[in-house]
Amino acid sequence: MNSKTRLFYLLPYVLWIGLFVVTPILLVVYYSFFDLHGNFTFANYEKLFTFVYMKMIASSFWYAFLITVFCLLIAYPAAYFITKTKYKQLLLLLVILPSWINLLLKAYAFLGIFSTYGAANNFLEVVGIGAQQILFTDFSFVFVSVYIFIPFMLLPIFNALDKLNPALIDASRDLGASAWTTFRKVVFPLTLSGVKSGVQAVFIPALSLFMITRLIAGNRVITLGTAIEQHFLVTQDWGMGSAIAVFLIITMFVIMIVTGTRKRGIQ
């Protein structure tokens, strides 16, 4: 292919990268150095390290951590059992299907289920615990988030487990390892790449989704995403919002590097 046609191919795509990938990031960084009145300042970053913001960041990380751990604990066994069934492709499709349904509708469903006279409270009444305030608590936020993110955790783990050579498990068992040792020393290390991509797919959105906190948790839970949305669309303090956004971008890169998959041990 000659250089003229190559340039023709390259131009619109490179234009897109320039305008919608590079420029927006630079603009966010640029804006993070300006206060409400358009003066250059480091105050936004100084504010980021004050107690109020540090507490918000810490709680955001704590919730994201909880959500990721619960997703992992629920999704790993589920993925494992699915690989053992006869209809694994069909079951996998059934797991993925809810992830294609608009996230807001799923959150909305829980507005009904968790409401004062909703299904969850009816169940608690029947069991004898009695009705509770479920909506607008941290519990409802974590529960709904885990519900929404399970497919994203399950899929990469399923793929890793599915590629695992069953002969390795047989070998381990033949050599006298117990089921638990086999899992700990053979299965889990070999599917770690799947777990890592799952963690990546859950942890970053859990830090940044603002609509679940708004709908389900009221204003009880404030994540990094909620704070950014608040600053951009409510208080109009774009500088501070950008500073938090820069922090989130850096966090994202750190997580990507830490969970970066080097594809070891999986054929």
């Binding site: 919608f20 299907l97 807001l104 959105p205 989704l209 709908l215």
Partner: protein
């Protein structure tokens, strides 16, 4: 023979019930004449009638579909061109750089994309509304199309192109008669993914949509923030059926595409 335990089946059944219960809960109450999501008083289709009588909502649905179709079509064109330019890139480092830049928008949290695009459009003087929503949907769909088309291009043998050139085909002929037909399954899959990403997007649209323009997701969010209204239930039942049709279509394409390389989980 190992003894088959019943627990894996019980566990999986439980997971699937939890995954689907909220969705069916939502759909079930769309037929409730009582007006709440708590006690079912009687069967009615009133909510559907109200939905179809709502002019404003119909315009929003139309907006959503127009934005999705237009953005998917334009993103597919630019994405295919981008994939071509990446594949025929001679320098390895430039190729890697382009690929990394391509993935930035895929891994970025929606809040960041939304906030940075809001700054971009405001700086560029683009009025928030149809144009800004369309541009951002095109922008975040392009990398998805590139990702779907690239594997097909890489799997294509260069000798096909050489053969066509030797037989006297012009560069345009090579593109339209050899390359494009070969990668068409990837193009269709990319278009489809772009379509569903656009239909489903909430966070980015929420940031860049002004006052006058709304898409379905944004509308659902503002309705849900006001509390429960069974209109949303009726709407979600229809959307669920529509999603199933879309997923079936997508899997049909992937099937024809032979062994689905990656089953898509929605972001």
């Amino acid at each position: 023979m190992k003894k088959k335990s019943i627990w894996p089946k019980v566990y999986l059944a439980f997971i699937f019930i939890v995954l689907y219960a909220p969705i069916f809960y939502l759909m079930f109450y769309s037929f409730n004449s009582g007006g709440t999501m708590n006690n079912f008083e009687g069967f009615t289709l009133d909510w559907y009638k109200e939905l179809f009588g709502d002019k404003r909502l119909l315009i929003i649905v139309l907006n959503t579909i127009i934005v999705a179709l237009l953005s998917a079509a334009i993103a597919t064109m630019i994405g295919v061109i981008g994939a071509l330019s990446i594949v025929y890139m001679r320098k390895k480092t430039t190729k890697q750089a382009l690929l990394s830049l391509n993935n930035v928008l895929i891994v970025s949290p929606d809040v960041i994309i939304g906030a940075s695009f809001l700054i971009l459009f405001t700086m560029a003087g683009i009025k928030l509304g149809f144009t800004s929503v369309l541009l951002s949907h095109i922008a975040f769909s392009i990398p998805i199309v590139v990702i779907m088309v690239l594997p097909k291009l890489e799997e294509m043998s260069m000798s096909l192109i050489d053969a066509a050139r030797d037989l006297g085909a012009s560069p345009w002929d090579v593109l339209s008669k050899v390359i494009l037909p070969y990668i068409s399954p990837g193009i269709f899959a990319g278009f489809f993914m772009a379509l569903t990403y656009s239909l489903d997007d909430f966070a980015v649209t929420f940031f860049v949509t002004g006052n006058g323009f709304s898409t379905l997701s944004v509308e659902i969010y503002s309705l849900a923030r006001r509390g429960i209204s069974l209109n949303i239930n009726a709407l979600s039942t229809l959307l669920f059926l529509f999603t199933i049709i879309l997923v079936a279509g997508y899997y049909f394409i992937m099937q024809r595409n032979s062994r689905a390389a990656e089953a898509g989980v929605r972001k």
